[in-house]
């Protein structure tokens, strides 16, 4: 039932009514023609009904707090409660973004230090914390590349190169920044085709967007040659930080030759996913792009006080990306996470994420699954292809994913990257125990068996959830996007 279906005229949560004595509707008479006469159309329910309704709704969700979530490229690690708690301290929670500097030193000190930590782990020269999600971070990065070439007076560089396995945000972002996208093929081993890249770069190349490890779940071994190729042609190299968890504390994008990057704090720095957001996508740059950073950033004066750096300080900035200064509450959680982990903890992240992924890959291979790149090391994630199962048992990756839900596991990422057919992209993260991973392997082994002996069980899964498979064709054809109340 919808909250609207609980609604009854005259029901109310009286404790929430704030009208002090003497505040009568006549006080709005000065609004004249501006006054609203139509009903607001919100539900009318009691407080207990609200609490019960949303508590019950919450129990219909899968969540990291409840189950293993091996979603490739999403880094579903534990979201530390301690980070949430400190971000919610009243002094932080109630601070207005436009408060004077004298009343902002607490927040600013955390933001400033976070900028330094992020520079350190990525090997970059400067950081802006303002982009509010990975996609916005990408936008900032590509916009800075554009600003850099324009400032040099080079207006011919209209192309951005993207590996064909790249995440959809990459080409979408390039187009949003006014570029034309050119795809570079990926080899059978999962690396960017260096020869094809060499043929594609030239005076029209503004830059190459990629990630390392790549979306194929393997390390781009020729990254230094790739960087050289792009730089020699006069282009810049952009790092999509989605897979930073694999190398956190072990390898730095700046050392690999990247000029600009974005990070996904909601992945690598364990900030909560909240059912779809918020994220946070800070950007880091080398010296060449530092003049173009999105504002505001945080600076420190000689006397140790912190202040905002804006257009006056960074005159060639690409500009402002958010009404205020980014997802501050998320930045505080990331700061807390960095303090809890410390430098040694950061090292461990890359190590144990990689250990878990390799162990899981090997275990699944022993259970009969086909790895997409069996000769390569897994990084923090790896790909399994179900092409054979699809062909012989007519059971698809989608079916396996749905059946996993019945076993109490959230499915891995499916059908990405597009170039591996019927694939599952699997990322356990470092916060999962061996026991949890073994349980997942047992479930996958069972499902593989089911696919061979009783495939209907898999192709019609899930069976144990609040709903069975949903008709998404109907959802797109007969659009029902808001509840229509019959008056």
């Amino acid at each position: 039932m919808l909250i609207y279906e609980h609604s009854r005229p005259g029901r109310m949560a009286r404790a929430q009514y704030v009208a002090a004595e003497g505040v009568s509707p006549e006080l709005a008479n000065d609004l004249g023609v501006h006054a609203r006469s139509s009903t607001l159309g919100l539900p009318e329910v009691s407080e207990l009904e609200v609490v019960r309704h949303y508590t019950n709704l919450s129990s219909k969700n899968f969540a990291i707090d409840k189950q293993f979530y091996p979603l490739g490229s999403c880094t579903m690690k534990y979201n530390p409660r301690g980070a949430h708690a400190v971000a919610s301290i009243p002094g932080f929670l109630k601070r207005h973004p436009l408060a004077p500097l004298a009343n902002s030193q607490g927040y600013l000190s955390c933001a400033y230090e976070l900028q330094n930590y992020l520079k350190d782990v990525t090997g970059m020269q400067a950081v802006s914390l303002t982009p509010m999600a990975g996609a916005q971070g990408e936008f900032a990065g590509v916009a800075m590349i554009r600003a850099y070439h324009q400032k040099r007076g080079d207006h011919d560089r209209v192309e951005i190169l993207v590996p064909e396995a790249a995440h959809g945000t990459n080409p979408a972002t390039a187009v949003m920044c006014g570029f034309v996208v050119r795809e570079i093929p990926v080899t059978k081993e999962g690396d960017v085709d260096l020869e094809a890249l060499k043929a594609a770069v030239g005076p029209r190349t503004a830059g190459l967007m990629m990630t390392n490890p790549s979306t194929c779940g393997v390390f781009e071994r020729q990254i230094q040659e790739i960087a050289e190729t792009v730089h020699e042609a006069g282009g810049l190299l952009y790092y999509d930080g989605a897979n930073l968890n694999a190398i956190l504390g072990k390898v730095r994008p700046g050392d690999m030759g990247f000029d600009v990057l974005h990070m996904n704090l909601h992945k690598t720095f364990a900030t909560p996913h909240g059912g779809g957001g918020p994220g946070s996508g800070p950007v880091g740059v080398g010296a060449r792009l530092a003049p173009f950073l999105p504002t505001p950033t945080v600076g420190m004066d000689e006397d140790g006080t912190y202040r905002w750096l804006d257009q006056k300080d960074i005159p060639d900035t690409i500009g402002r990306l958010s009404s205020f200064m980014g997802n501050a509450g998320i930045l505080l959680r990331a700061y807390a996470y960095a303090r809890l982990l410390g430098a040694e903890g950061m090292n461990r992240v890359g190590e144990y994420a990689t250990l878990n992924a390799n162990y899981l890959a090997k275990s699944l291979e022993k259970a009969g699954y086909a790895l997409a790149y069996p000769a390569r090391r897994a990084t923090h994630e790896f790909i399994v292809t179900l092409a054979s199962e699809a062909k012989h048992q007519h059971v698809t990756a989608m079916d396996f994913a749905k059946r996993l839900l019945d076993y109490g596991y959230h499915a891995p990422t499916t059908y990405f990257p597009l170039l591996v057919p019927e694939c599952l992209l699997i990322e356990p993260t470092e916060t999962e125990s061996k026991a949890e991973i073994d349980g997942f392997v047992a479930a996958m082994t069972q499902i593989r068996q089911e696919a061979m002996t009783d495939s209907a069980l898999v192709t019609t899964a899930p069976h144990t959830l609040p709903v069975t498979r949903l008709d998404d064709v109907k959802a797109a054809r007969d659009l029902d996007l808001a509840f229509k109340v019959t008056a």
């Binding site: 998404d472 064709v473 797109a476 054809r477």
Partner: protein, 131 residues
């Protein structure tokens, strides 16, 4: 094996174009295309009177898993579109060569259709695709 029709020409991007008796050209997508797309949920069609160049994006066909652009096979002026698709987009899946047509145009050059793929060429293309 997907159905092909012999009274039409094809584009490599899987549109078909049929020269009608009155010299107009009807355009739609092939059986191979509708199968690859899956259930069609929406079709965005061009306005009548619009002039288009060959290869210009003229329409969009949307399924749950993809949204594909439809290109003008020849240059000309749009003179009609299939308004059945608004309420019944599934017609594209059910009858891609017949009731599921997208739009009609008045070609600038009535010989232009000869530049397109023949049914045999198109069948060969699809066979290669299926591997």
């Amino acid at each position: 094996m997907a159905e092909t029709r012999d009274n039409v020409r094809y584009l490599a991007s899987h549109e078909w174009a049929r020269l009608e008796a009155d010299g107009t050209v009807t355009v739609g997508i092939s059986d191979h295309a509708q199968d690859a797309l899956g259930d069609v949920v929406f079709v965005e069609l061009p306005e009548i009177g619009r002039t288009v160049q060959v290869g210009e994006e003229v329409a969009v066909v949307e399924s749950v898993k993809a949204a594909s652009d439809i290109y003008a096979p020849v240059a000309g002026t749009i003179i009609g579109f299939n308004d059945v698709l608004d309420a019944a987009p599934e017609t594209v899946n059910e009858a891609p060569f017949d009731g599921g047509w997208f739009f009609k145009l008045q070609p600038a050059d009535d010989k232009a259709l000869n530049e397109l793929l023949t049914p045999a060429d198109y069948r060969a293309l699809c066979a290669a695709d299926d591997h």
